[in-house]
Amino acid sequence: MEEFFQQLTNGLAVGGIYALIALGYTMVYGVLKLINFAHGDLFTLGAYLGLTLLTSLGLSGHLGTVLGLIVLAIMVTGFVGIAGALLERAAYRPLRDSHRLSAVVSALGASIFLQNTIMLIYGAKNYVYPLDILPRTTLHIFGLPVPLVRILILTASLLLMAGLYLFIQKTRLGTAIRAAAIDQGAAKLMGINVNQVIMIVFLVGPGLGGVAGLMVGLYYGQVNFTMGWVYGLKAFTAAILGGIGNIPGAMVGGLLLGVIEALGAAYISIAWKDAIAFCVLIVILIVRPTGILGERVADKI
């Protein structure tokens, strides 16, 4: 029972991170019908930026842990969001009217470019986050131990998801994003500046991916320049699992994948941890290509 509970809470914490990254894939897919293959590398960028800001500014020293982390998260979100918007300008907008395959190639190119840029700046070695940022205490819930870090990570990702959901569902701009995802031409006829909508999607999606990178750094304490690849693939799987293009789907898919993976690693084999996620991807594509909540994708990548 305790083992199960440990794996469940760990799975939920990691799943929250997957969900945040998956939202970036799904939002971009929603408006452009394009898989942003560089998204995983924007996540990596968030992890490295977080580390740099953390060590160079000493925010948590000046502002206290909680406020310091919030300011840090906002800065990382902002910087990675801007990087995402620039990426769209440079790599995707010029190809908006070209064949879809051109944009896919451009996305792969952007991924390689970002990954190598990070490697050139920081070097190829692993980096270690300062360990004393998040409290290492353990709470007891119904007598079962849970590290406080997990609760913090899960809470932060749930709050971000709730914020995004409200933004998309309740605001004028959020409704414009939904409209542009359904029919760009009709959205233009409503007076919506679709280019601006796409820019906002490329600010918000990568911003969330960046903050997820920061969370991974804080949770596991270690980052390297290729981490975006595995996390990107997992989050992409989560997005497909929930139904790509569907925002609540990405949230559900992320949490579910985190839990499946954690339980699978514990009860099947730890060596199979990564394989489990990809088995899930393959099974979904075969059994239910629309995902839990979404539209068909198999012929759209």
Binding site: R172, T175, I182, L189, G191, V194
Partner: protein, 241 residues
């Protein structure tokens, strides 16, 4: 631009890729008029409306709205200037509610009082939309979706309303109701450009008409004249009745 003119198209050419589909359209619309554009499938009617709305690129020629050239103005700005379109095939946002669709129509409308007033008017014109305001637009019948598409365009508080085949796929009784409403909308002061396949009904409603043939204006004139024209009768009105 002439006195009382609100919209003017001069020698409009449009290409899709290498293929030119509009070969020099000339057309004007006076303030307060209903002007209909008739013609067979593929004649270039929708392309003309989309050129006005800024959805397709103009390769040469000019479009003026209230004396202002708009052929290079982006689509979302055209709506802001005062030209709204209910497009062919309705294109309502199926997974959004009726209310959300109407709110989107008012995206450029910054006048809160006007939005409330227009919404009230639309619900008066189309009471069924009020009944179904929390329903997803995709669950409405074809006729209801058409009403929603028209209502949504009205929410922008436009000066000119472009309608692309509003009768498409609707039962005759519904067409009659919608055309009656269009008359009401026109009497409230809106200028209407009506693209139609249903030539007889459109000419009865409109002040003037244009007949398009493969990307050119083949005939134009007051509706009464076009109704009497033997060419129009043969080609679009199913012979002389």
């Amino acid at each position: 631009m002439g006195e009382g003119m609100i919209l003017k198209i001069e020698n409009l050419h449009v290409k899709y890729g290498q293929v030119e589909v509009l070969h020099g359209i000339n057309l004007h619309v006076n303030k307060g008029e209903i002007v209909t554009i008739l013609g067979a499938n593929g004649a270039g009617k929708s392309t003309t409306l989309n050129a006005i709305s800024g959805l397709v690129k103009v390769s040469s020629g000019a479009i003026y709205f209230e004396d202002q050239p708009i052929s290079k103005v982006p689509a979302h700005r055209v709506v802001e200037l005062g030209v709204a379109q209910a497009p062919e095939g309705r294109r309502v946002f199926g997974t959004l509610t009726v209310q959300e669709n109407l709110n989107l129509g008012a995206f450029t409308n910054r006048d809160g009082d006007n939005i409330i007033q227009t919404l009230g008017w639309i619900y008066e014109l189309f009471p069924v939309l009020l009944e179904r305001k929390n329903q997803l637009a995709g669950t409405l019948s074809g006729g209801e979706q058409q009403m929603l598409a028209i209502g949504r365009a009205l929410m922008a508080n436009p000066k000119v309303l472009l309608l692309d085949e509003p009768s498409l796929g609707l039962a005759p009784i519904l067409v009659k109701a919608i055309f009656k409403t269009l008359k009401e909308i026109n009497e409230a002061g809106l200028t209407i450009v009506l693209v139609e396949q249903n030539a007889r009904a459109a000419l009865k409603l409109a002040n003037r008409g244009y007949v398009f043939e493969v990307g050119k204006v083949a005939l134009e004139g007051p509706s009464a004249d076009l109704l009497e024209d033997p060419n129009v009768q043969n080609a679009y009105l199913g012979g002389n009745h």
